[in-house]
Structure formats: structure tokens, C-alpha cells
């Protein structure tokens, strides 16, 4: 019985783009790894199996392996997605994996999204600006409408995986474009009554073609977002606000 099951399992090929910046003399290449598919196998399991049994030098990033931390964004047959929650059963017999474009390459499938996100956060000030006032922690918290809190959370579900940037036409061409992720963050803080920044302040941050007017409305961001955030709506909404201010 066991043998029967084993013999009916599919063998899949993963073609992985390889490059190790610490060995610049070795040219970038595709390596193909074959492995037997297991029940419920994800790309997280498959890549770890390859590293443990075939090539221990293979670089990739996983942290939560549950689709919530955003570490494992990569191009899966050309499309940005989270590898940890991609079941191999949904993939063809040969699958090509490549690192996300735009971000600095660390090695193989690992890219430095952290550096990019940090720069974006510093530039846009992705925190509550309240004039430096410290809350008195002994007192009751400021009330907030329940709906306002839920609306903010809708936009805060972003996990900074970088898929929207990898899927963005403008980001490929314009190095300092803040992307859907940056614009979504601005929308999130603009919605937050605790943030004292005015629309004019936000205009200063995103009111040009490195911000909201750089978007070409190709909607790759929204298609690629693993959290299904309403990115296109946010960009359209911000544009309307910002256009009103620019005159």
C-alpha cells in the first residue's frame, strides 16, 4: 500500500535562479532541483528539503511560514507571491523561482526588503505624528469610533512583503517611487484621527511623480497583494485629495 502511494507521487522540478554576490566570479544561472511531491507540500517545505538534501548553499528567506510575516516574497513562475503558502499542488511540473526584482539581492532567492522598507518609512514618516506629546498612561485612553479603528486596520494589514513593488511598472523605472505600499501607508495615517498631519503635509510627502502621481494605474500592485488590500482604491482616493491641493 505504501509503495503504491509512493509510486503515484508526482516529481516536480524547481528551476531556481542562483547568484551569490560573495562569489562574483560565478555567473548567475538557473539550477533545476527535482523532488517528489508530498501531501500538503508548500514551497517552504520544498525549498527546505532541497537545502537539506541537495544543495545546502541555497539561500532563501522564511520566518513565520504561515503567510503573515511577509519574508518569503519571490517570483513564482514570474508572478510575485508568498512562497510559504503556495502549495506545490497548484504548480505545474516545472516551476521557475526567482528573487523579487527592485530590491537589493542578498543571494539566490533572498532580497533585502528590510532596507527598502526602512528607507520608505523614514521618508514618509510612517508613524503617528502628534506633536511629540506623551500620553498620560495612568488615564483612560482617548476614545475612538469602533468603525474608524476597523477602517484603519483594513489598511494596516500590509505585511511589507514587497510583492506590490515587484509587480509595479513605475517602480521598475523610477528608483525613488514609494509604490503602492508607501501610498497605502499614507492613506492609513491620513485616516487616523491621532495623526495631526494635514493634507498639505501629506502632499509634501507624496504630491509628485515619486508619489501618487507616479502611478500608471497598471494595477499590478493590487493583483499581487497577498493580503488583498484595496491598493488601487487608496491610490485613486489619495490622488483626488492631492489633486485638489495642488492648485
Amino acid at each position: 500500500m505504501t509503495e503504491l502511494i509512493a509510486s503515484t507521487r508526482r516529481v516536480i522540478d524547481l528551476r531556481v535562479l542562483r547568484y551569490n554576490p560573495a562569489e562574483p566570479d560565478v555567473r548567475a544561472r538557473f539550477d533545476t532541483f527535482s523532488l517528489e511531491e508530498a501531501d500538503g507540500m508548500t514551497l517552504f517545505m520544498a525549498l527546505n528539503e532541497i537545502r537539506e538534501t541537495q544543495d545546502p548553499s541555497l539561500q532563501f528567506d522564511f520566518v513565520c511560514r504561515a503567510g503573515i510575516c511577509g519574508s518569503c516574497g519571490m517570483l513564482i513562475n514570474g508572478k510575485p507571491g508568498l512562497a510559504c503558502r503556495t502549495l506545490t499542488a497548484t504548480l505545474p511540473a516545472v516551476t521557475t523561482l526567482a528573487p523579487l526584482p527592485v530590491f537589493e539581492l542578498i543571494g539566490d532567492l533572498s532580497v533585502n526588503t528590510g532596507k527598502w522598507m526602512q528607507a520608505m518609512s523614514e521618508r514618509l514618516g510612517t508613524w503617528i505624528h502628534n506633536g511629540g506629546e506623551e500620553a498620560n498612561l495612568d488615564h483612560l485612553e482617548q476614545p475612538m469610533e469602533p468603525e474608524a479603528a476597523s477602517d484603519i486596520y483594513e489598511l494596516e494589514r500590509c505585511i511589507e512583503c514587497g510583492c506590490c513593488i515587484a509587480a509595479c511598472g513605475t517602480a521598475q523605472m523610477r528608483e525613488n517611487f514609494v509604490g503602492a505600499i508607501g501610498l497605502n501607508k499614507i492613506a492609513r495615517f491620513q485616516l487616523d484621527p491621532r495623526d495631526q498631519r494635514s493634507n498639505a503635509d501629506f502632499y509634501e510627502l507624496i504630491g509628485d511623480d515619486t508619489g501618487v502621481f507616479g502611478c500608471m494605474t497598471l494595477l499590478g500592485c493590487e493583483d499581487a497583494c497577498p493580503k488583498e488590500l484595496p491598493l488601487a482604491t487608496q491610490i485613486a482616493w489619495l490622488r483626488r485629495r492631492m489633486a485638489g491641493l495642488s492648485g
Partner: protein, 656 residues
């Protein structure tokens, strides 16, 4: 060789480390944070269900305060916790949540008027007060008397971590990402920083600091089946252990979460049961009321996990192609509730199980989840035996959780510990100005460099990935929910032989740069040492307490075991930890040992318990709760002054 100097080195960029660094910076000192990953990817983000703080805003939280939170936490710990620390924690938790609210966390808020909820399997209706409208809401969680768990849908940790990380960015606190501390720099009982490996290019450097704080989270990945992120390998705790000076406390106290999806081991939040979800067996029978009539699905995690395994062992488990399991049923909560407040659960079910939890049962089985044990510290978060070394959060054992942690107390602990330990480290920096000698740093750096070189040039036959796998199998199979002397002896013996084999590694590839095979190779001995602390501690502790359950010693034994285990690794040649015990003083307890309110009522009493209980009963006539508490076990003087104030609540403006 590069040496970087700073006032405070924080190892770990999750909630505890970030908050500690913010506290230090506020006080005018310069912190540097090291993180294995970009901080927003830390495992803190995985805390779904919520954070306990006794705000008492919602109807089901009425009457809640620090006293009730304290009692729940001590009972949850099965009296293993340090009660002074529990008091400090329950007092500061409301402040922590209010600070996070000011920093932008979109806590779910109370909606005035009629509210419907599923409680114990049936719908109840109650009213939320007008004056509570817009204040922070709470949901029910296991082992608590009140609805106390504040939440942001089921992405609580995510929102907290993002707000905290963004605060660190706002305050220009440097985070050195993809950096791993592999050894502490220390001499004569004083810690001076760490030697650190860059995970992107493989280079080594030393960080010299006046105070060093380990906030690296738990070590769940020594188990095969764990809800933990893959970075939770416990290297922070391991380098403290390898110092030979610091000790690890209560390493045998390991929590198993009742509802990990089967077989992937991915967590679905306790909020599912808090919001009314039920556990069912192969016949869809709701079995928890049969075992725990008082708290049912919402007994503490150790109890629920044991009952589930017991039920499976009795032949009531369902089975699929991966093996036996039970079901979590949240269908009755309805689609709107699930889409709003349990959407991460819904996503996880969709992607990993291919099911819709609004209409289908979720296959679950308990999995390793949390490390109550960790680097032993005093109430200030400092190691009593290695000065200048601090620890905070899951990596630490200042001992908030004893032998079982309550759901919702972990994210609360990370932030509260960060707030407190940040202050204490700043105090430390004010008192001492000694960033350590560069000579010592260079020596440690050279030593680590040659150790890594030795691994690379070794030609032994052992494969680090295979050793890790064997360790994980043993831990899950023999040092799990049900333990006994025979299995534990076997586990200890096998782990010792794995440790010996780990000296005979051979790398298959010689590559420059990050080199993931080398990473596995230098981590394996560290993880095996932790696994040995857990197993040896579990073997020695011949009683059952909280999550540590011995089939051959099923009673809690306060007479002989009301003590904290301390594990020390005395020399680099040792192949076993040395265990010592630190007794808990019943006569100093505000809540003397008794029955938890769930689980069996059969513990062996400590000789001081009745006497102390009498004293506590005698204080019951004092009306003022603050005065009564202060008479029994004063703690306010242990807190930094800025966190001593009383907490205001609705209808209780002065916190009286």
C-alpha cells in the same frame, strides 16, 4: 576586526527588544538593536488573539482590575511564577496598552448598545454602556475570570509590532538587520556585549556595550511540531547558557497550544474559543465539558492540551492521511464575525487546509507553542550571576508565567518587560560607565572566528540538518505533553550522543558569504544544549506542574518541588547542564498555593501554605484593596517611578 561601541546592545528586534531600546533612548542613552530579520518580521507579529490588560471597559470586563489579573496569572502558572513580578506586570499592562493606543495601534473599540456573543455554545445578549463607547474592547480568553484580552481583529501582534517598530524608526534607533549574536563577550561575571555574525555576507564583528539585553524570543524550533517561526531557535538563550555564568530558569516548562492546524502546526488563535468556538471529536461530540465542567474549552492551555491528547488516546480522535487529530468548530460564530475578527484564521484555513471555517471543521492538534523558561533574571531583568546582562520577553525567565502562561499574557509581557527593563538598563548605565576593554572583544572575536573556521575545515561525517531533525523528533516524541521517567532518560541519553556527534560535522559545500549550511552547523550544538536543559530538567522534576506533566508523578508536589529550576553549562567540555534549585517563599506570597479552579484537586501541600493562607485571610477585612495588597506583598517600590501611578478606569477616576 571591526568593533562597534554603544551604551546598550539589544539583541532581538521583536516587541520586547524594540520597547526596551525605546526606553533606553528616552533616557538619553544610545541603543543599537540587532535582529535576525527585519524587525517587522519578528515572531511577535504572529500573536493573533490579543493582549491582556485589565481595562474593564466592556460589559464582560466589569469588576476587572490588577488584582483579578494577578490571581488569574498566578493560578495559570500553577504557582510557579514570581508573584512580585506578576504584580508589577498586571499593574503596568494597562499603561502598556494605552501607550500603544497613543502610538497608533487600532485596538477594537467598544460599541455602545446591544451586543450579541456566543458563550458556552449559545447566544447571549447584553448591553455595552454609553460611557464605554469608543474605549478599548476585550474578548474572552482561557484561564481568565473576566473578558480582558484587548485585540485588533486577529492581527494583534502584527499591529503592535508595526506601531512599535515605526516608533523605533521615528526615534532614529539603529537596527542592524540580519545580524546574529553568536557569543557573549564577558569576563569576571560582567557582560560587555557580543560577537555577531552578519547573515548576509558571513563577516564577524564585535559590539561592546555597557548593558546587553537578550530579547530573542523562545526556542520552539527544538521541537518538530511547533507553532513557532523558523527563527525561534533559542540562540539568544543558548549564548547566555554558553557563558557558563548566566543560568536558564525552568527550561522544562514548555507550553503546547491546543489549536495548531493539523499537520502543519500553524497556530489558530485562542480567540476562536474565546469568541465561542468549541472543540469536537470524531463524532462531532463536544468533549471538553466532560472533563472540565467549570471552564470547558477555556481552561488554561496546559489543561486543554492534555485533555485533547487524553481524548485522542481514548480512541475519540478523527483521522486523516497524516494521523489523528480533533476539530475546532467556529461555524456558529457566523461569516460576518469570522470575516471581521478572525480573518487571519480564515486565510490560514483557506491556504493551508483548503477549507472555509465558516462552514467546515478545522482539524487541530496541540503543538509546541511557548517557552516559559529562559534566561534567569531578577525582577529588573538582570542576570543575578552575569552583571550587565539583561533579558526581556519570552527569552527571559524573570518568571511571570511559572509553569504555564495564559493566552494574551505573552504580547503583554513583551511590552511591559520592554518598558521596565528599558528603565532599569538606563539606571544601570547611569550607575556604571564601563563599556569594556577592546582587548577582551578582540580575544572573543578571534576565538569565534577560529571556531567557525574549525567547523568549515572539519571533515567529519555528520550532517547538521540531520542532527537537528533527530533532535526535533526526540523532543516532540519524548519531551512533549505527556512525559515519563523512561522516555526522558532515553531522550537525555540520545541528546547527549547527538551533542557528541555534533563535534564531528563535515560541510558538504565550501561557499563564501552567507553560507546557510555553516549557520545550521554552528547552531546545532547550541540548540542541543537547550534541548538537554529542557529534558534533564523534566527528568529531574518528579512532579506535575502546569505544562510539565509526568505520568509517573501526576500530582503537583508543593512540599518538594515549589522551586525554580536553574540550569548552568559549567564548561565547554560538559555534555550535560548542572541543575540547581531556587525555592519559592510561600510566606512571602500574596496568593498562597491552592487549587487553580480547573484541572485535578490533588496537590501535595507545602508546610507553610496553611499558615500563610491564615495570614492572607486575616487581611480580608481591610476594605481598601491597595492597602490590603500592600500589607501582604508590597511591590510598588520595585517599579520605576514613572510607572507607579494608579490606573484609571471607568467609574473609578482615581483608580480606587
Amino acid at each position: 576586526m571591526e568593533i562597534i561601541r554603544t551604551d546598550v546592545l539589544v539583541i532581538g528586534g521583536g516587541l520586547a527588544g524594540l520597547r526596551a531600546a525605546i526606553g533606553v533612548k528616552r533616557r538619553g542613552f544610545e541603543p543599537i538593536i540587532l535582529s535576525l530579520v527585519p524587525p517587522k518580521r519578528s515572531h511577535s507579529a504572529a500573536a493573533q488573539g490579543g493582549m491582556q490588560a485589565s481595562l474593564a471597559n466592556s460589559h464582560k470586563g466589569h469588576g476587572d482590575n490588577e488584582d483579578v489579573h494577578f490571581i488569574d496569572t498566578v493560578k495559570g502558572s500553577d504557582w510557579g511564577a514570581d508573584q512580585h513580578v506578576v504584580r508589577m506586570f498586571s499593574h503596568v499592562a494597562p499603561k502598556a496598552i494605552r501607550e500603544l493606543a497613543a502610538w497608533g495601534v487600532p485596538w477594537n473599540r467598544v460599541q455602545r448598545g446591544e451586543r450579541r456573543a456566543i458563550i458556552n455554545g449559545s447566544e447571549e445578549t447584553f448591553a455595552e454602556a454609553d460611557e464605554a463607547h469608543g474605549l478599548i474592547d476585550a474578548r474572552d480568553f482561557g484561564g481568565t475570570e473576566k473578558w480582558r484580552t484587548c485585540y485588533v481583529a486577529d492581527g494583534t501582534g502584527h499591529s503592535m509590532l508595526y506601531a512599535m517598530s515605526d516608533q523605533a524608526i521615528a526615534r532614529q534607533i539603529p537596527v542592524h538587520e540580519r545580524m546574529e549574536a553568536i557569543s557573549l563577550i564577558h569576563a569576571d561575571g560582567r557582560c560587555h556585549g557580543a560577537v555577531v555574525r552578519n547573515l548576509m555576507d558571513g563577516s564577524l564583528r564585535a559590539y561592546l556595550a555597557n548593558a546587553t539585553c537578550i530579547a530573542t524570543g523562545g526556542f520552539g524550533r527544538i521541537y518538530r511540531v511547533s507553532t513557532n517561526a523558523v527563527i525561534n531557535e533559542g540562540i539568544g538563550a543558548a549564548i547566555a547558557l554558553e557563558s557558563g555564568a548566566a543560568s536558564l530558569g525552568n527550561m522544562e516548562a514548555v507550553q503546547f497550544h491546543p489549536t495548531a492546524i493539523f499537520p502543519a502546526g500553524i497556530l489558530v488563535t485562542e480567540g476562536c474559543r474565546g469568541d465561542g468556538g468549541l472543540l469536537r471529536d470524531r463524532n462531532e461530540h463536544r468533549f471538553m465539558p466532560d472533563y472540565e465542567p467549570q471552564k470547558r474549552e477555556l481552561a488554561s492551555r496546559d489543561v486543554v492540551s492534555r485533555r485533547m491528547e487524553q481524548h485522542i488516546a481514548a480512541g475519540h480522535g478523527a483521522s486523516n492521511r497524516f494521523g489523528e487529530h480533533l476539530y475546532l468548530d467556529i461555524r456558529q460564530l457566523g461569516e460576518t464575525h469570522i470575516n471581521g475578527k478572525l480573518r487571519e484564521v480564515k486565510e490560514i484555513c483557506h491556504y493551508f487546509l483548503g477549507i472555509d471555517p465558516a462552514s467546515e471543521l478545522i482539524p487541530v492538534r496541540p503543538a509546541q507553542h511557548y517557552s516559559m523558561g529562559g534566561i534567569r533574571t531578577d525582577h529588573r531583568g538582570e542576570s543575578p550571576t552575569l552583571r550587565g546582562l539583561f533579558a526581556a520577553g519570552e527569552a527571559a525567565c524573570w518568571d511571570l508565567h511559572g509553569f504555564n502562561r495564559l493566552g494574551g499574557n505573552s504580547v503583554a509581557e513583551t511590552v511591559v518587560a520592554g518598558m521596565l527593563v528599558g528603565e532599569y538598563m538606563a539606571d544601570f548605565c547611569e550607575r556604571t560607565d564601563d563599556a569594556g576593554a577592546a582587548t577582551l572583544a578582540r580575544e572573543t572575536l578571534r576565538h569565534e572566528a577560529s571556531r567557525l573556521q574549525a567547523i568549515c575545515s572539519n571533515t567529519g561525517g555528520e550532517n547538521p540538518f540531520a542532527l537537528l531533525r533527530e533532535m526535533q523528533e526526540i523532543m516532540t516524541d519524548q519531551v512533549g505533553i505527556f512525559r515519563n521517567g523512561d522516555n526522558l532518560e532515553h531522550a537525555v541519553a540520545t541528546l547527549r550522543s547527538l551533542l557528541a556527534r555534533s563535534r564531528d560535522l563535515g560541510l558538504r559545500r565550501q561557499v563564501r558569504g552567507a553560507n546557510p549550511e555553516l549557520v545550521a552547523a554552528y547552531r546545532v550544538a547550541k540548540m542541543l544544549k537547550l534541548a538537554l536543559c529542557v529534558s534533564a530538567g523534566a527528568l529531574a522534576r518528579t512532579e506535575s506542574r502546569g505544562a510539565h506533566y509526568r505520568e509517573d508523578h501526576p500530582q503537583r508536589n508543593d512540599r518538594d518541588w515549589l522551586s525554580r529550576t536553574l540550569a548552568v553549562w559549567e564548561s565547554s567540555e560538559a555534555d550535560m547542564p548542572t541543575l540547581r534549585y531556587e525555592p519559592l517563599d510561600v510566606m512571602a506570597m500574596e496568593l498562597p498555593p491552592g487549587w487553580r479552579g480547573y484541572g485535578p484537586k490533588d496537590h501535595i501541600e507545602h508546610r507553610d501554605s496553611p499558615r500563610r493562607q491564615q495570614q492572607v485571610d486575616g487581611a480580608a477585612s481591610i476594605d481598601d484593596r491597595y492597602q490590603r495588597q500592600a500589607g501582604l506583598m508590597p511591590f510598588a517600590h520595585l517599579l520605576p517611578e514613572r510607572f507607579q501611578g494608579r490606573n484609571e478606569r471607568l467609574g473609578d477616576p482615581n483608580g480606587d
